[in-house]
Amino acid sequence: MMNERDVDRLLNLARTELVGASDAGIKAQLYDVCREFFKDSNSWYEHISVSIISGQRHYRITPAEGGMILRLAAVWDNNRIPLSAILPHLDPPSAELELVYPQNTNFTAKCVVTKQIVEPTTREMLPEAPRWLLPVYHETILDGLLGKMMGQTTKSYSNDTQSVYHLRRFRDGIMQARVASERANLYGGQAWRFPNSFRTNSQRGGVSTPFPRPTSW
């Protein structure tokens, strides 16, 4: 979970900017900032193993590294072939995984889920967010925190102009995190890929060849 020094640094900077703010208020707002960050960026992943049983379509999956399951990114069988599946029911922190088609053998599948922070918080009323959050996205989280705090009314730290400025930076940061997450933090990674509907896990319809016509060599 989040490193204590990273959190101290974040809170100290927030206290400096927010004259008259309470620590409890800042921490409560930090929870909401983290929620929005993870919900819109899909940047918190976890790989979960699921023991698939022949003929059974429904499985309960629970994250082992904190947070709650929010969305399903992918499910693979033990040959890395994608399986069609959905998450019809969320039951924080767990979720119900439903395979669209029942399997005819037992195997261990891997599913990738994106996650979201969830109650309860730590004893210090801090959200249970992953350790990498602040080292990587410190500025974004600080902008979100300042923007949301300054957007409150009738407080000594209320400031509409600064609130708009920080929230705009916050949303930009979320989008950067979303893109970085989609490209698995690969610098210069491909910005486009075939849509999901092009996916296939069979060779029905022809065997692939290096070129359309071998005679063109």
């Binding site: 004259v19 008259g20 703010a21 309470s22 620590d23 409890a24 208020g25 921490k27 409560a28 309860p120 918080t121 004893r123 009323m125 009738t154 407080k155 000594s156």
Partner: protein, 137 residues
């Protein structure tokens, strides 16, 4: 290294003592009874809940604390807001006093209470007088 236990204004008793100092009411018999100051403390907490609900966010619940005796019981208020409650309590105690001469000072203390809670700059304390029950009176 600071010892957190040395912090002042963290108990009901320390609030009452500080308020008595501000009201020049340290010597017995006191002009302002303990239960009057406790009422003012509870009222100030309730008023603070109205204007600064974030001061009462706890891990479990968000109740407003209530005190019935002058003791070492902790008043769960963050350090930077404790001075506000000293003024809030003193202002409320003076408002309950039937001496008209205290009204301006009561208003001044109450103003300090609000300024610390929802403002940045504190106004000057006004309405000074010798004070009833004061050894200097």
């Amino acid at each position: 290294m600071e010892n957190p236990e040395d912090e002042r204004l963290d108990t009901v008793e320390s609030y009452v003592n500080e308020v008595r100092t501000l009201l020049l009411d340290r010597r017995s018999p006191h002009r302002y009874k303990d239960h009057e100051i406790l009422t003012a403390l509870n009222t100030s907490l309730a008023e603070a809940r109205r204007v600064r609900a974030d001061l009462f966010i706890y891990r479990h619940g968000n109740h407003v604390p209530y005190f019935t005796s002058v003791s070492g019981e902790t008043v769960p208020i963050e350090t930077q807001f404790r001075l506000a409650f000293v003024y809030g309590i003193a202002g409320h105690v003076l408002e309950r006093d039937d001496e008209d001469v205290q009204d301006q000072r009561a208003a001044s203390f109450t103003s300090q209470f609000y300024s610390i809670l929802i403002g940045i700059q504190r106004p000057p304390v006004q309405g000074g007088n010798k004070g009833p029950g004061s050894p200097q009176a």
